[in-house]
Amino acid sequence: MSTQSIRTRFLGTETSFSVSGAWLSYWILLLRLTAGWWMLHAGLDKIWAWPFDASWFVGGAAQGTILAPFVTPFSDGILLAFVNVAVPLGQTAIGFGLILGVLTRTAAFFGAFMMLFFYFINGYGGGWANGMVTGELLGIMVFGTIVALGAGGVLAVDNRLREMELFENTRLRKLLG
């Protein structure tokens, strides 16, 4: 089993530690699968029960929260119609992206973006009854981990996409894992 040595200077100190390449790959894959299914399940549930109406969330639950100025304008008209489509399709796309490893880093970024709204609006709605570390915040951290580690290298379609001319040695490659 290969062990990788990580050496870097961090917070003013020399840091080094070893990590098992196999365990790191395994754990990255599990993070992707669990977070991916989290999103895919949430998205497909909304699609099966179509039409989806997010007005209770963007127009109701968001009222009085720190995100209200950014979210409540989406509570009616064409902006609400956009949210009603973007949330289910976005969650489904993020879920597939993470599970299959397609545009993994992009999927995880938008997973964190979406989770930011759930974190603050659900947190305020529940009065932060169990503190400020919630499943949504941990979700943001998981998505951030996937972005930072570039988790699309493990059993992922990104490995094939990376060989395409579109992604090879171009900035778009950063969208992959």
């Binding site: 870097t8 200077r9 930011l116 009065g127 169990n130 400020m132 290298g153 900035r171 950063k174």
Partner: protein, 95 residues
């Protein structure tokens, strides 16, 4: 050896610092200096916050937004990653 760009340092130290301040440091201050945190029969904590919850949430939000903005900046402004195709260390966050 440190290969952190200015953007990396902003994300790590400013963004991460705000998140840790909002989640951990203020949480600890609340616990040590605030009124009791009784837990009701449903397991919910009844908060008596030293730092108003809006400020604490704002600090965390700012930290998360900085992380996000730096990620977007690194995609938009960074150079194209180079190297072989399969099996290499992903380089998108490295430059």
């Amino acid at each position: 050896m440190s290969d952190l760009s200015t953007a990396d340092q902003i994300a790590m130290y400013v963004g991460g610092g705000l998140v840790v301040l909002g989640v951990v440091v203020i949480g600890l201050l609340d616990m040590l200096l605030g009124a009791g945190h009784p837990v009701d029969s449903e397991g919910a904590i009844e908060h008596a916050a030293v730092v108003p919850i809006d400020i604490r949430a704002g600090i965390i939000l700012l930290g998360l937004v900085i992380w996000g903005l730096v990620a977007v900046y690194k995609f938009a402004a960074g150079s194209a990653p180079s190297g072989s195709t399969t099996g290499q260390t992903p380089s998108g966050m490295d430059d």
